[in-house]
Amino acid sequence: MNQCFEKIVIAWCWLSTFLLITAVGVVIGFLVIKGGSALNLKLIFGDTAPLDALLLRRAVFDGLFPAIIGTLLLVLLAILMAAPVGILTGIYMAEYASLSVKKRFGFFFDILAGLPSIVVGLFGLAIVIFLHKYISAHVYPCLFLSAMTLAFLVLPYLIRSTQGALEALPNTIRRTAPALGASRVQNLFLILLPRARDGILNGVILSIGRCAEDTAVIMLTGAVAMAGVPRSVFENYEALPFYIYYISSQYADQQELLSGYAAAIILLCLCGLLFMSALYVNYNFRRGAMNRV
């Protein structure tokens, strides 16, 4: 065992930490420096009065408002679709599934979790094509189908976090209510789920973040560069991540480039906020678990 070797390793560990932190710091700093100045109401609402825009009385043409609304609607719809299915599946996996079912389904969910998002987007597109050909020619890529595809994307996260939260509950807690005569469902709703609530919430928050940031899926299923606030879920729409991608290759002037930087900052803040709340929930979950047990 070499003192020299050990010193080199120590130096490398410090260096690599410094490199990584610096790299991320440069990314964030670069965005803030370049785009911070553009963060104002005009950026979001263009030439339209904010109140008019918020009440949807007038359309916004030059601002990020439609993209922000698009992202919010997307996330809302996707989670509404994915959460019930995902959480119920997670409950099934943790509480009712036999070992062989667990293994088989678990394998499928792992594959789903590992699939590149563009492949899931491709699936969404395939569904659109299929519906367009065989059901109705009026079916086009739209907000609803994008949200559905995003739901497919985040389903495994919801399943995993629910299953994990429930499986982590100690056996002593699991057996208390049944010993007093409670049924399985009663045990689930009165004891287990409340205890696992934070873990499940953590999964939901992470899924929200995933939906907000994804670009590949929405690129293939209905996001466009210029659509305004959609009047129905069956229309095209704008979204922040797609806007950022679009601007990066198609910006017409300095103003548009600036708005791209600003959009990136907004998206970063949104995801950062979501992530910090997930960390906070996680922290509370851990603390609560220690206190209660």
Binding site: V9, L112, G114
Partner: protein
């Protein structure tokens, strides 16, 4: 009451069945939409031909090479970095610095890849242009560098949880024998965690191969296979995103389902390998 229990269980099972079937449906849809390729026996050609639609060649071979190059190079950059940071957080960092860096790394996993791509285009690419003296600056190397920063945080967190599961008894005996922190990490913790480290690597490699935005925005998207890290490349994922604009009924369009199938099979393979190795580890 009994009936409610039974129907609730049925609802749960339906949800699970629905979720599991989605995974299968994805593969089936790819297969069905790519069917013309199989009928004419073109599928294997697709895997070895170059992409030249004008000559009727819809091969994705260059894309496969590109995906592998970008992913492996990115992994090559990310792995030593991640081990270094993981060791730093798990014992080398003085005082509370370790936990601050840990939180920073966890926050990093939430940064959208499109944001990295955006910054990459306006910060890294011009730099690459000057360093490589020519070309657009968009190449395998650029994509790999940013990709490394994207996959490193997940790898680091995975390594740390492996390190933490080394039994305390080993560490205590080493301490009593006068081992310094770095000695404990190098000669006990890391060697005991090889399984976890390997799993983390496989996961990261899978993620690197499946990434879309970084490859799409930074690697240049040239249709020819790259002949060096400074040449432009088009990954399978980026290819799918770019060919989408083509006519729905064309062969070109159908070829992207071949890409989808390749990516799907790769993912399934990686997943199976991971499940096997972790179950073996759990058994021992």
């Amino acid at each position: 009451m009994r009936m409610f229990e039974r129907s609730f269980e049925k609802i749960l099972f339906t949800a699970a069945l629905l979720s599991a079937s989605i995974t299968l449906l994805i593969f089936i849809f790819m297969l069905v939409l790519g069917l013309p390729l199989f009928r004419e026996g073109l599928f294997w050609d697709l895997l070895s031909d170059p992409w030249m639609p004008q000559q009727g060649l819809y091969g994705i071979y260059p894309m496969i090479i590109s995906t592998m190059s970008i992913a492996f190079l990115g992994f090559l950059f990310a792995f030593p970095l991640s081990i270094g940071v993981a060791i730093f957080i798990n014992g080398l960092a003085p005082g509370r610095i370790g936990s601050y860096v840990n939180t920073a790394v966890r926050l990093m996993t939430g940064i959208p890849t499109v944001v990295y791509g955006f910054v990459g285009i306006f910060l890294l690419i011009p730099l690459m242009r000057t360093i490589l003296q020519g070309g657009s600056g968009m190449c395998v190397l650029s994509a790999a560098l940013i990709l490394a920063v994207v996959i490193a945080p997940t790898m680091i967190l995975f390594f740390i949880s492996s390190f933490k599961s080394v039994p305390n008894a080993y560490l205590r005996s080493a301490t009593a024998l006068g081992a310094t922190p770095i000695q404990k990490l190098l000669y006990i913790v890391v060697p005991s965690s090889w399984n976890g480290i390997l799993t983390g690597c496989v996961l990261a490699l899978g993620r690197a191969m499946g990434d879309t935005m970084i490859a799409l925005m930074l690697a240049g998207n040239a249709v020819a296979a790259p002949d060096g890290i400074a040449s432009a490349a088009r990954a399978l994922t980026a290819h799918i995103a770019l060919v989408i604009a083509a006519d729905v009924n064309s062969m070109a369009f159908k070829s992207i389902f071949a890409c989808g199938i390749v990516l799907y099979v790769l993912t399934a393979f990686f997943t199976a390998v991971l499940r096997l190795t972790t179950s073996r580890r759990a058994a021992s």
